[in-house]
Every structure is written in C-alpha cells, then in structure tokens.
C-alpha cells in the first residue's frame, strides 16, 4: 500500500494534485474535444434551422413599421375615438405631415403603404400619392394640414384609414394570425372575414385530409412490398430494395413531370383507356391539376419513406412467430393479423409520421400537378413569400403549420407512444 491510499485526506494523484481535480481536468478536455467535433454541425443547425424558425416566429407577430414610420401620428391618434365616425382633428394631421416628410425622405412611406394595404385595400396608392405631394409641402406655412390632406385624397377625411393605422400601431399584432384563420381585426376585436375571402381554413383542412389520404395509400401500397422484402432471400431482397430506392436517384422534378405526361387528358393512361374502349374519346378522365393528381404523384414520391422503416421493423420479426401461431390453430389470416401485424405496428407508426409530416409541408409536387384544387397550404406560403411579399402572413401560416405538426406528434406520442416507433432494427 502506498501512502496516498492510507491517509485520510482527499485522494491525491501521482503528481500531488487532488485526484478529483485532475479527474475533472481530464474530463473537461474530453468534453471540449467532443464539443469541437460536433461544433460545425451545431453551428450549421443553428444558422440554417433554429435561427430561421425563430425569425419566422418573430415575423408572424412583428409590426413595428407603423410606429417606426409614423411615430408622432401614432401618439396623436391615442386621443382619437374611432367610434366617433369622423376623421381625427388637426393635431393628428399635423403630426402626419411631419412624419410623412421624414418618411418620404427615407422613402419608407411606400413600404408602409404596402403593409397597410394588406389590411385596407387602397392604402398603397394613398401613401404613394400623398408622398409625392408631401415632398412639396412646407411644414411651417402650409397649415392647416387637415384640408391639405383631404385635398390630396378624400380617403384621409374618412375614418377607415385612421382606424387601420390606429389598430396596427402597436409593435406586435395578432393580425397575421387572425388573417391565417380567415379572420380580421374589426372595430371590436377579431371578426370573421366575409365568406368570399375565406381560404386558409379550407386550405389547412385540405392539406390535412390529403396528407392523410397519401399516408394511408402509402401504408396500403408499402406494407406488402416491405413484407416481401423482409421475407425474400437476401439476394432477391437486395435487388428489390434497389428498385424501391430507384426513385431517389431521379430528380423530383423529373418524376413529377413524368406524372404529368402519364395523367394528362392526352396522356398515356387516358390514351390506353380510350384504346381499350373503357373510356369514350370525348370523356377522357381528368386526373391531373386536381386532388387526384396530387395524391397519386405524392404517394409515389413518398412511398420509400414508408417502405424503409416498415422493412427494417419487419426484418426483426422472426418467422417462427407465424409458425407458432399456425401450430396453435390459427389460419393464415388470423396468424398474420393477431401475431405478425401487431409487431409491425411500430414500423407503420414510424413510416406514417415520416410520410405525413413530409407531405403536410410538401410544395413542389402540388404546385406542378395540383392545379388550383390540389394545392396545399405550403403553396400559399410560397406565394406570400415570393409574390405578394406578405412575409408576416407567410410566417404566421408557417407557424400554424409547425404547431399543427408538433400537436400531431404529441397526440401520436399519447396514443401510440413514441418509444414504439422504430426506424431501424
């Protein structure tokens, strides 16, 4: 026995430092090294995934443009009662004139116009028009401003534009979210939009229903394939596996366009059906630019995501279970349904989650083959991002989609249990 182990104080390492401290130092080095190894990935995920999501969440409620562009007006408007039915008084117009002067110089008035235009049609042209006039206005001499502005456009004399400005003057708004669920900010809080402007609820509903149909189609088509894969001898199974994975090797765009060729009215399937006499030439089936087209093409594209987890779960189910069930008196169907199927459920769960979540956010395929009736909510998001430039609304729609996915995931965990999901053996 050495001295170190005999004396009652803290254990010492060979060099005399307390053992605990040298152990901690050694471990810290290991941790730092491990952290440095994953640092590139961590930074990548942070920059390309976490930050954009945070930014999106922020944009969906952010609304500083009104109070940044028209700070004095916003303060002056606090005393105005929108219920009065008349435009505000001179002090507000004076404030507006001052704010507009600065905004025009910074050219930020048109941006504010487009922003308010989402809520009040006509706001964009009103601001553009007023901006041109305000440029030539002299703040010291041109009072009173109320008449001047009403001269520029009589919309300034009506309470509607003022109500909109007042409603959207806080820095944060739930307006985008209300818009996303077909509502809007009315005089007294949220109110439903008129019937003909409601689109988002319907789109969300359609996205859910169609994703579910796609998931179910994938289960129905993928299950037998996975079963064959799991039960074939190794060599044939590998060959079949290559066929299953083949779609991954061709571009998504090419595959989707191929469906266009197949499904269109002058396409391969219709031609064949007409040739066989099953369909009259003047009554060719419409299989594209509608929901049917989207479902067919997306099922095809997402099928491997169902087959792979199913296959890896089925591979771990020994064939003796089926034999045992049969020896106990179960016929083929009962043996499958009572013994094999329950054990393959984790694979169905994993595949369904994958397929459903992928399809709920799918964009390209519905865009190409969906027409107007077969598009998803993501197509609308893309439209707001790239065409209407209403990023706030796009962000709100995206946030709702994210929340729905998380909610579904949570429900799934409650019902099936996420531990029961197996992606691999």
């Amino acid at each position: 026995m050495t001295d170190a182990t005999q004396h009652s104080g803290p254990m010492l390492a060979a060099d005399g430092t307390p053992l605990k401290r040298s152990l901690a130092r050694a471990l810290r080095m290991q941790k730092i090294r491990a952290l440095m190894l994953i640092a590139p990935l961590l930074i990548f995920v942070l920059v390309t995934f976490i930050l954009p999501i945070a930014d999106m969440l922020f944009r969906s409620v952010e609304n500083q443009i009104v109070r940044d562009t028209l700070p004095k007006t916003v303060i002056a408007l606090q005393d105005w009662d929108p219920a009065s039915g008349a435009a505000p008084g001179e002090p507000v117009f004076a404030a507006l004139a001052q704010d507009m002067k600065i905004a025009v110089e910074a050219k930020s008035h048109t941006r504010l116009g487009s922003r308010l235009n989402y809520e009040f049609t006509g706001a964009a042209s009103l601001f553009r028009k007023s901006g041109r006039k305000v440029k030539r206005m002299d703040l010291d001499t041109d009072a009173p401003f109320k008449e001047t502005f009403i001269d520029i456009d009589k919309k300034w004399g009506e309470p509607e534009i003022w109500k909109t400005i007042k409603r959207y003057s806080p820095a944060y708004t739930n307006g985008y979210f209300l818009n996303s669920v077909d509502m809007r900010k009315g005089a007294d809080g949220a109110e439903a939009r008129p019937e003909n402007q409601r689109i988002y609820i319907k789109l969300f509903g359609r996205t859910m229903v169609m994703s579910m149909v796609i998931t179910i189609s994938c289960i129905l088509l993928g299950y037998p394939v996975a079963w064959i894969l799991a039960n074939l001898p190794m060599r044939q199974a590998n060959l079949l596996m290559i066929l299953v994975l083949l779609p991954f090797w061709t571009s998504l765009l090419v595959r989707t366009s191929a469906w266009k060729v197949m499904l269109q009215q002058q396409g391969v399937i219709n031609d064949t059906l007409v040739w066989l006499g099953l369909v009259a030439d003047d009554a060719r089936l419409i299989m594209i630019n509608n929901q049917f087209g989207t479902i067919v093409a997306m099922t095809h594209i997402l099928l491997p995501f169902m087959i792979l987890p199913l296959y890896s779960v089925m591979q771990t189910i020994p064939p003796t279970y089926l034999r045992a069930a049969k020896s106990l008196g179960a016929n083929n169907w009962t043996a499958f349904w009572r013994v094999y199927f329950p054990q393959s459920v984790p694979g169905i769960g994993a595949g369904s989650i994958l397929v459903f979540i992928l399809s709920i956010g799918y964009y390209i395929t519905p865009e190409i083959v969906g027409g107007t009736k077969g598009v998803f909510i993501s197509n609308r998001i893309a439209y707001h991002i790239s065409s209407s430039l209403n990023w706030g609304l796009a962000a709100a729609l995206g946030t709702i989609l994210l929340a729905v996915v998380l909610l579904l995931y949570w429900c799934y965990d409650k019902v099936v249990g996420i531990d029961n999901v197996k992606l691999g053996g």
């Binding site: 279970y321 034999r323 045992a324 049969k326 008196g329 179960a330 016929n331």
Partner: protein, 365 residues
C-alpha cells in the same frame, strides 16, 4: 399413463424422403411407428435431419416422398393449423405483444371457445406449470426457465394429443435444464400425451424417453429404449454416439455358435459378440469402459486377457478413469468404482485386462 399406451400406431412415417434443393436428400427413407402416449426422442448430430422431420410432422415442410399418418389418417395435405399438434419452439416463440395469459388463450380463441372456459383452462394450465401468478406479465418480463414453462403450457392448453418439442431446453443452464427435463417428463406422463422430442443432448434423451431414435445422415440408425441403445448398440455409429466407448479394429476370422473370433490388427485373437458382421469382414469391436476388468480375482475363470499399459490415472470422485494402451489403441479407457478395496493404477504399470465375450460387440467398421 401406462394403460393408454396401446400397440396400435398413432404417428407413422412411411418411406418418407425430403429434399430442399432437389439434389440432396436431407431425410432418406424414414420409417417410424409411434404408439399413443409414447415419449420418443430424436437424437443425432447437427444437420442429421431431426428438425426437418419435426417440421414435416407439424406441416411446415412437405415431404418430397412418402406418407405421414396421424391416428391412421394421412396428413400430407392437411395445413398446419388443422393438424392440432402442439409445438414448443427452441426460442419459445412466445408472442411478445401479448401477456402470458393472452398467449395461452390464443389457441383457445382461434378455436372459438367461450370466455369463461378459456379463463378456466388458462388458469389450470398455468397451475400445472407452476406459474399461477404470472398470467399478467409479458414474456420479456420472465426468465428463460419461466418462458420455457409458458411455451410448454401454450402447447398443452388446447389439449393436443401430440406435442413436438425442438430442443426446448437448449437455451437453459445445466441445472435448470435438468429440472425442466423432470418437469416435462412428469407433465407428459400425467397427461398421457404423445411427445416427439428433439435434442442434441444424449443424457437428456436417455433420462426422458421411452424410446430414442438415433439420427444420422437422414436415417434412423437405431430406434430402441435407452438401456438397450446403450448396452446393445446396433452399429458402430450408435456405439460411438451414445456414451463412452472403446474400439479395437480387426477382422472377423470365424463365427461359431454366436461367438465371433476376431483377429485384432496387432495379431491378438479375441472372442466377440457378432452384431452386424460376417466372416471375413473388417470389424470395429466396441467395449464399454465399465465392462472392462483388470483385477484377476473378479474375472471369470478362463477369461481371455489382453496386455495393457497404464498411461494415465484420473481421480473423478465417484469413479476412477484410467487410460490404457491396448492392442495399439492408446485411447482405451476403463472406469472403476471408487470402492474401499479398489486398486489405484499408476502410469507405466503393465497389467492385463479382460471382459465377457458378450460385452465385446463386433460391429461394422
């Protein structure tokens, strides 16, 4: 139940052959007749076709040729689930997503039995395997031995008259295995069921079975009760496979009145009991180690003895195991009981060994 053991055939294999690939026969000309209530063990080296035979009987493999009959009815074309044969698999194959009780009631449910009767039967069979409290557990929550009991119970719960077991104790440790051997045998006897049991382990085969079928090369080499198998092996494969065995090679010179004169390769002439040899054949003479005697006082008057040299003496507690060199064979072993007057031989000692002619069996070479 001894009285239920009739002589009429319950399970019959008649000229059964099996090939998986169309080139080699895995089972060659299998003939077997089992009366009701018999406990028959298939014993043999790996790859000798035991599992294949069992699978053909259970209906998971089809015989390429021949007839398999159950209770007089040919079952070649009856699917497995209609055969009503209980089966215990080597890895138990208990359904992992069902509790023990659900596993046991599964065969009853598929037979459309009422709920109360099912529960009663499950309770009874659980009691029989002494697992009464475990009905609510999942198989994964049981030990190997407990799973084995449940697998056995599941094969018995629907009152199958024939139960097949393919190495059911292979995954258990030695002590548990011995205990379960006893349990299985007791339950089988109590219920009077017919059992076909497959094992690698010859002690298991010897202690449990009414009869043992020794398999090799797709054929039954010998089908006999354990004592007969050990004492009267029908050919040299069985003699080698069952128990320890000494062999001496030679040629049969003559056969006279049931005694063969064999000339060993070193020229020595000995008397043997001819089993499956004729005059002029090469033979392999088989003698069990415990039937060899070196103490002249205990040998019968006039017994022929052979010179031997002691190579090794091993003290094994209850017995002594002594390795000798006899007639050129230096793996010749004798076993002697550890009695107070027993002589302990020392290596290098020159002795003479002898045996009764009927214990010295001249078999095929």
């Amino acid at each position: 139940m001894a009285e239920s053991k009739g002589t009429d055939a319950f399970v019959e294999f008649e000229r059964v052959q099996k090939s998986y690939d169309g080139e080699t026969l895995v089972v060659k000309d299998l003939n077997l007749v089992m009366p009701k209530g018999e406990f028959l063990t298939m014993l043999g080296p790996s790859g000798s076709g035991k599992t294949t035979c069992l699978m053909m009987l259970a209906g998971f493999e089809t015989a390429t040729h021949g007839d398999i009959r159950l209770d007089g009815v040919s079952i070649n074309n009856i699917p497995p689930h209609k055969r009503g044969i209980g089966m215990v698999f080597q890895n138990y194959a208990l359904f992992p997503h069902m509790t023990v009780a659900e596993n046991l009631s599964f065969p009853l449910e598929v037979r459309k039995m009422g709920k109360s009767e099912r529960e009663e039967r499950v309770r009874n069979v659980l009691d029989m395997v002494q697992m009464g409290e475990f009905g609510g557990r999942r198989p994964a929550q049981l030990s190997g031995g407990q799973q084995q009991r449940i697998a056995l119970a599941r094969a018995l719960v629907f009152e199958a008259e024939l139960v097949l077991m393919d190495e059911p104790l292979g995954a258990l440790d030695k002590q548990l295995r011995e205990h379960m051997q006893f349990e299985i045998k007791r339950i089988a006897d109590d219920l009077g069921i017919t059992v076909v049991y497959v094992t690698h382990d010859q002690t298991e085969a010897m202690t449990m079975s009414d009869r043992v079928a020794v398999f090799d090369d797709g054929r039954i080499q010998q089908l006999a009760p354990p004592d007969k198998l050990y004492e009267e092996p029908g050919n040299s494969f069985v003699a080698q496979f069952i128990g320890e065995n000494n062999t001496l090679d030679g040629v049969v010179k003559e056969i006279n009145g049931g005694v063969a004169l064999v000339q060993l390769d070193d020229g020595e002439l000995i008397d043997c009991n001819p089993i499956n040899v004729g005059v002029g054949d090469r033979t392999r003479v088989s003698i069990r180690p415990e039937r060899v005697e070196f103490n002249k006082d205990r040998l019968q008057e006039g017994t022929h003895t052979v010179k031997a040299e002691v190579l090794e003496f091993i003290y094994m507690g209850d017995i002594f195991r002594t390795r000798l060199k006899v007639a050129g064979n230096d793996e010749f072993v004798i076993k002697t009981r550890n009695a107070p007057d027993q002589v302990r031989l020392a290596p290098g000692q020159q002795i003479e060994v002898g045996w009764l002619p009927e214990d010295c069996r001249a078999l095929d070479a």
